[in-house]
Amino acid sequence: MAEQHAPMLSLRGLTRRFGGLTAVDAIDLDLGKGELVSIIGPNGAGKTTLFNLVTGLDRPDDGAVRFEGQDITGLSPERLAAEGIARTFQLGRVFGNLSVMDNVLIGAHTRLRAVKPTVPVIGPLLELGLALLRPASVRAEEERLREEVKAILARFGERLLPRIDQPAYSLSYANRRRVEIARALALRPRLLLLDEPTAGMNPTETAEMQGLVAELKAEGLTILLIEHKLEMVMRLSDRVIVMDEGKKIAEGPGEEVRGDPKVIEAYLGHGLSGTTEQESAA
């Protein structure tokens, strides 16, 4: 349970309304360091909206988000990326015209030091100057990151490495999802949020992805996972949270949650849609 770990992320009463609809309704959640917690729930339950609130892409109407003891409610996504929060997107948001290499390098953007001096006011101008002049320190940094990107891509076997210079739009759907995860890893995240990483993947690809997530977990990464494939959720999660119509309706170890009548009811009430392949709007 969460108390074993120092709480890394904690949400309190997090709420987001769209007009009359409460997409996220007073959600409380604690995530310990190194934990992997899954969020499941039928379509439209508010899972993606919850991710948006945690990563700063949307602001809550109510409630608070704390990350490593710091109140981060309403901070910009740029700031949160710098704090070490990385995410992937449900529909896949790779940079279509950038090569695989460049996509993943963008993931390492917050870690650029040599080319981005932290000088107030004229910092951006120095960045422009350094980008044009490219002194040895800048070139070395870029070279180091490129090597690192290759190492990250190698985690996906031969899926991405041979395509490293291809533009992302030319990749298969599954490969684009992999690029997204590689990009997130390049940030060296302290907290990783994965929004349906296996959506649109066949069983073999799903198994591969599951293996990768398990590896990341074993390496000690703290992960919040949205996933419809219950099999995978059951195997990976320390805890499962079930959402329906914005509310948290159950929380606990996978097997326990699975048998909860409220959960069965929520899924049945939505025609079991949650267990099939989803590609609805993020």
């Binding site: 007009g19 948001r93 279509g96």
Partner: protein, 607 residues
């Protein structure tokens, strides 16, 4: 006191006219999320058809209105069918560029048919004024008010009580759902474009009668005013567009009352920029909404750039460098000098619009800032010309970036509107800030180019100078694209949400792109000022912005070599074929349209 009432009446009447344009824009935006930059051109066409009807055919007023509405509607239908429908499944930048191209083609066609000189459009109504409270009102005021109210009523009945009207509303609410329910979206688009064009055309005719003058500059003004009103009211919101229009009419009218006529447009554009910054979804939008444009999907056409071997580029550069040693006429050199100057502007625009995805329609303003700065530095402060040109580049980088920064939060079409408006603001400030810019008189006697004390007067030296400057800028830009900044710019262009989630600050990187691009454009303007020796507020106009945009699309968005090839092609080919100046702009517009339709990635491909 009485004059205030007059200004109020005037504001409401003018607002009524804007409403006819803005409602059409709102309808179109509602169903297709598209800001139709050609709306002003239809308004222009309406005004000239009105002129033909009244002056040549002597039609009675009711018939005039019907003829204008019908003819304008036809134009609208043609635009929809042949200009936009083929682009339905293209990338988002395509319809935006298409309406810009269509607008240019229509304006030029009107100009070629009727000459650019203003014409009188008599109102066909008795010239009397009635006392009303403390002010006066004429029959034309009443007619405009009447047309406005009647159109609003007809539109309301159409949208509310007809099947097609229901389909329009359904499509505006949720296009996909409407299609699933069997709504024929093409028919909806047709209806909307037809109605929008009819309203726009009638509006142009009424304005012509109101001021008893029509000319081809009306088009851009109308597009801008309509868009301002529409955005103020909330894009796609039809009643909002009406209220926004009346508000705009009043703001302008009171502004004129207090500050004088030459400030009329300034108020309109300031209103736009303020609304875009403070409430980008309009004054009447609910507090926080989903963003007005879809978040996903690429903005520009994906493509692989054509790889040109380095040696080929070197050979080409060397060939152009030694060209003056061969017996070429100074006419050829002059043409190429123009191409190099345009090349610098195109480098700037291809970075901003192509690499960064901010389709700027006000890029000529950067030329103007650079030109005025360089001219004034060398004239009034006796700064050496070489340094003055660099000063022009720096000023353009700084001021241009500062002016555009309010629009950094905007996307797609909104950026284009904002830059168009900012371009207009710059030229209005140049016109009105007489103590510095010498106002409408312009600046004459600008010293020629010189470097280290040597005047560059011969065509050879000017040729080498401009070629070398362009080459340096191109090399720098190539280096920029190869750095982490190039990839950051392109990431923001492809998906700004994902880019922010990975720590890329939009303000920071858009600023850097505009600083670099502003410098190149400012240098180009500075050099031009010293070549022309005379500049005024019209030297650098929207036509140059559109020409640069065509060059950029032709060469391939973001493509450095493409920008230069495109400049040489678009400056050189018309010269080669001796195409008369007035047809050139028409041809640029047509080239733009053909490219968007058949080769959106340009000659050398998007980078």
């Amino acid at each position: 006191m009485s004059s205030w009432l007059d200004y109020t009446i005037n504001g409401l009447i003018v607002g009524n006219v804007y409403a006819l344009v803005a409602v059409g824009l709102a309808l179109i935006f509602g169903v297709s999320r598209l800001i139709n930059f050609a709306q002003g051109s239809i308004y222009l066409v309406g005004a000239y058809i009105g002129w033909v009807a009244v002056v040549r055919l002597h039609t009675p007023l009711p018939l005039t209105i019907i003829v204008v509405a019908a003819a304008a509607a036809m134009v609208g239908l043609i635009i929809e069918r042949f200009g936009l429908r083929p682009l339905q499944n293209s990338v988002r930048i395509a319809p935006l560029l298409a309406t810009i191209g269509i607008s240019f083609v229509l304006d030029q066609l009107v100009m070629l048919t009727f000459s650019p000189n203003p014409r009188a459009l008599p109102s066909q109504l008795p010239d009397v004024r009635f006392q009303l409270g403390g002010g006066t009102i004429g029959p034309l005021d009443l007619l405009i008010a009447g047309v406005g109210l009647t159109s609003a009523l007809l539109l309301f009945v159409f949208l509310r009580y007809t099947k097609l009207g229901w389909a329009v509303r359904a499509t505006a609410q949720d296009r996909d759902a409407a299609m699933q329910m069997g709504v024929d979206v093409n028919r909806v688009n047709q209806a909307v474009f037809g109605i929008a064009a009819a309203l726009g055309g009638v509006s142009g005719m009424l304005v012509g009668m109101y001021y008893n003058q029509i000319d081809t500059a009306m088009s851009l003004q109308a597009t801008l005013k309509g868009v301002v009103a529409e955005v103020v009211g909330g894009a796609g919101n039809v009643p909002g567009a009406v209220i926004g229009s009346l508000l705009l009419g009043l703001v302008e009218s009171y502004g004129v009352a207090v500050f004088g006529t030459s400030y009329r447009n300034l108020f309109a554009f300031l209103l736009l920029v303020v609304v875009l910054v403070l409430r980008p979804s309009g004054l009447f939008a609910s507090a926080r909404q989903a963003p007005p444009e879809p978040l996903t999907g690429t903005f520009i056409a994906p493509s692989r750039p054509v790889r040109i071997p380095r040696w080929a580029l070197l050979v080409a550069a060397a060939a152009f460098a030694v060209l003056p040693f061969f017996p070429v006429s100074s006419y050829v050199l002059q043409t190429l000098i123009n191409a190099w100057l345009l090349g610098m502007l195109a480098l700037s625009l291809t970075l901003v619009a192509g690499t960064m995805g901010q389709v700027s329609l006000g890029h000529a303003a950067l030329l103007a800032i650079g030109a005025y700065t360089s001219a004034l530095l060398s004239l009034t402060l006796a700064v050496p010309v070489g340094l003055a040109v660099i000063g022009g580049g720096l000023m353009s980088a700084a001021l241009g970036t500062l002016l555009i920064s309010p629009s950094f939060r905007l996307r797609g079409h909104y950026v284009s509107i904002a830059t168009l408006a900012i371009g207009e603001i710059v030229s209005l400030v140049i016109l009105n800030w007489e103590s510095v810019t010498r106002g409408p008189i312009g600046i004459s006697g600008i010293p020629p180019l010189s470097l280290f004390g040597y005047d560059l007067i011969s065509p050879f030296s000017v040729y080498w100078f401009s070629f070398a400057v362009m080459l340096v800028l191109a090399l720098l830009q190539g280096r920029l694209l190869g750095s982490h900044l190039g990839r950051s710019f392109r990431a923001i262009r492809d998906d700004d949400i994902a880019a922010r989630a990975y720590g890329l600050s939009l303000n920071r990187y858009k600023s850097l792109a505009f600083i670099f691009g502003g410098f190149a454009a400012g240098v180009s303007g500075g050099i031009a000022a010293h070549l022309y020796s005379y500049i005024n507020h019209e030297t650098f106009n929207t036509q140059q912005s559109i020409l640069a945009l065509t060059v950029v699309i032709l060469g391939g968005l973001g493509n450095v070599v493409g920008a230069i090839v495109g400049s040489v092609a678009l400056v050189g080919l018309p010269e080669l074929f001796r195409i008369a100046a007035e047809y050139r702009i028409l041809i640029y517009g047509i080239v733009l349209l053909l490219l968007v339709r058949f080769r959106p990635q340009g000659l050398l491909g998007t980078i």
